[in-house]
Amino acid sequence: MDIFLISLLNGLSYGLLLFMLSSGLTLIFSMMGVLNFAHASFYMIGAYFAYQIGVWATHLVGPNTGFWIALIIAPLAVGLIGAMVEKYGLRKVHKFGHVPELLFTFGLSFIIVELVQVIWGRAAVSYRVPPILDGPIEFLKDFGLTFSLYRGFMMIVALVMLALIWLMLTRTRIGLVIQAALTHPDAVESLGHNVPRVFMLVFGGGCALAGLAGVIGGPAFVTEPAMAATLGSIIFVVTVVGGMGSLAGAFIASVLIGLIQTFAVKIDFSLVDLFKTLGIVLTEKTPFFDVWKLTVSQIAPVLPYLLLVLILIFRPRGLMGTREG
């Protein structure tokens, strides 16, 4: 039971982190039709910026202040870079169509990984959880649960952030303009709003969200040059499974995949065991024994992609998607 609850919490926190990434990706996609291939790269930049700010802050301000400074500055810096990329790069290829846009962001992800290696080296950097947030949550310990305080902090940051975005999108003027520009960009433009600037804002905002996810995700996982590729394909799966351009779908899919991946690694159960309970014993001599003997935890890395394939076969528009194709 304890393991179940802990895995549930871990899965939720991972899912929320995924949603911080996929929400930006989905917003950008539904607004501009651009799939930002470099989205996970901005996540990586966020983590590396936070690490660098931490190093500088230790010298300039004092030990253990870096994380809190980075929490504010790093996402802003990443968002600024994102806005610049939109203004000076993406806008130029926009007239050629969606495939060149995708290619541009693909090339960008290529360059970012290389630049990160040039600046910070190929090995992982030691970007750690700040001491205050290290260790388990005390009050959960009373119930016999050991859940990392930092994971809890991650969940809170993600939830606060998402609530703020929701409020901004639904309650503020700029949010209403963004929502209108999602579906009727021409009408919004003829009403006198600067739609390209709105696009730049949304792109920068999405990148800032990814950067924030990097700041809080970096210490929880590993801050290394491969971190963008690891998460990048997962968030694409999330957006397809949730339905292209649907925020609600992205949320459900993020949490679903977060839970699936966390639970799967805990289950040491294979098809051999299943057949054993049914009274059939499979041995090394059975054809395709390599397949039968795999445990659920071993196939955990593949599960999101299997989910993707299943969704595409049985519900091509995704969980909450509205359009096919």
Binding site: F29, G33, L35, G89, K92, V93, F96, H98, V99, P100, L102, L103, F104, F106, G107, L108, F110, I111, E114, L115, Q117, V118, I119, W120, G121, R122, A229, S233, F236, V237, T239, V240, M244, D290, V291, L294, Q298, I299, P301, V302, P304, Y305, L306, L308, V309, L312, I313, P316, G325
Partner: protein, 430 residues
């Protein structure tokens, strides 16, 4: 029967000339570049040409951007390797010359299987799904060490059985000619494919899928069939590279390979049939030759790629053709001067960029070997400020020269293009 009398089929001299020259090029190149290193380079170019052309069947001809094409070439390579090992073990009899066919069939089989799912979508979702399938295959490759050989991959020996007419495929030059022959016939076959009804429908699906649906075609079917044909050729490329390197590992199905073929195809140009051939040659040169000199070659490749996307979306092939058009309208003389200016600016700028990148790379990754980095034969002390001042002044100076030169060039270029358009329409009217 009277129909036979009316048929008039002149010998297509131009076509025979081009294919004849291609064949001669394949035959002759290793005679000129005959060192061991250049032979392996040429062999690699041959397999990459097939791979890039098969990729362009999707990207250029059907408008499908795939991020997982290495799945088909990689799986083709694995099946070829297993077939080769079965031959060595005496379990199977099959001539090594035709082994790439095994790879091709394996590729086509997985094209049927995965393509059914991926081609349900087009455009951007297709790209994302192919990425997902690619990741899935890559992740599974580490789960089945029996078939994929785990981290180390599987190895084989291509010298099996009795030599046939003295051909044992031991020496690298024999493998080169094997690849060259396969490559030549694959190019011919893929070119022929563009003229088949399916090849034509693929173009229609790329240009206007809605209208294709209206006429009564199923666009998903067209995409699927093209993907199967394309993965057949990708499998052949994989099989050939398996024979060439005698090792296949999980890296062969990885996203790195898929991204590589995308870069190669786009740099060469997806708009023309021969574009990917140029792209493959440039890409292999970049990845093999340049990686000998610098560890930052991928960064240069990425920058080169992004610049192509921004300023020359038609790739190198369209650049060549557009300049040829200017030449054929005898207006190239006016371009010479602007070209020179842009060239000087570009050289200064790239020297600055290369210096900054190389010195930063040296500082982060190679600092244990001292602070001196050799660039183009000159030694620079990365710890001192002199080198950095030179680099930044080259960078800013290059930028200051390049940007006005680029604007001047674009102005001349655009006026010339307009003039050509006018002259062309005049010709049509007359």
């Amino acid at each position: 029967m009277p129909n036979n009398m009316l048929k008039f089929k002149p010998l297509n001299v131009g076509r025979w000339f081009i294919w004849g020259m291609t064949a001669l090029l394949f035959l002759g190149t290793p005679l000129i570049f005959n060192q061991g290193f250049s032979i392996t380079l040429l062999s690699q170019m041959g397999t990459t040409i097939i791979f890039a052309l098969s990729f362009n069947m999707l990207l250029g001809q059907t408008g499908m951007l795939s991020f997982g094409h290495a799945v088909y070439s990689g799986l083709g390579a694995f099946f070829t390797m297993h077939a080769l090992n079965a031959i060595s073990a005496g379990k199977l009899w099959f001539p090594v010359t035709f082994l790439p066919l095994v790879g091709g069939l394996a590729g086509a089989f997985f094209g049927i299987l995965f393509g059914y799912v991926t081609t349900k979508k087009s455009g951007t979702p297709f790209a994302m799904i192919t990425l997902g399938i690619g990741e899935m295959v890559f992740a599974s490759s580490l789960m089945f060490p029996g078939f994929f050989g785990g981290e180390g991959g599987i190895t084989g020996n291509r010298v099996v059985g009795e030599p046939f007419l003295g051909i044992s495929y031991g020496p690298a030059i024999q493998v080169y000619y094997l690849i060259a022959v396969w490559c030549f016939f694959c190019i011919v076959a893929m070119y022929a494919f563009t003229h088949t009804p399916l090849g034509r429908m693929a173009n229609a699906v790329r240009d206007n899928p809605e209208r294709v649906e209206f006429i009564g075609y199923n666009t998903q079917r067209v995409r699927w069939y093209v993907l199967i044909v394309s993965s057949f050729f990708a499998g052949i490329a994989g099989g050939l590279s398996a024979l060439n390197f005698e090792i296949v590992s999980a890296e062969n199905v990885s996203a790195i390979r898929s991204g590589g073929v995308l870069l190669a195809t786009f740099i060469g140009g997806a708009l023309f049939f021969f574009g990917p051939i140029i792209g493959a040659i440039v890409f292999v040169f970049f990845s093999v030759a340049l990686s000998e000199f610098t560890r930052a070659w991928q960064l240069y490749l990425g920058i080169f790629f992004v610049l192509m996307v921004l300023y020359a979306p038609g790739g190198l092939s369209s650049l060549i053709l557009m300049n040829l058009r200017v030449l054929s309208f005898s207006k190239f003389k006016r371009l010479l001067d602007p070209y020179l200016g842009v060239f000087i600016g570009a050289i200064l700028l790239s020297l600055g960029i290369i210096m900054v990148i190389e010195m930063t790379y040296h500082l982060t990754l190679d600092a244990s070997n001292g602070t001196v980095r050799k660039i183009f034969g000159f030694s620079f002390d990365t710890a001192g400020s002199t080198a950095w001042i030179i680099a930044t002044s080259l960078l800013t100076g290059g930028l200051l020269v390049f940007e006005p030169m680029r604007r001047r060039f674009m102005q001349v270029w655009n006026t010339i293009q307009e003039e050509i358009e006018v002259e062309q329409t005049k010709k049509l009217v007359v």
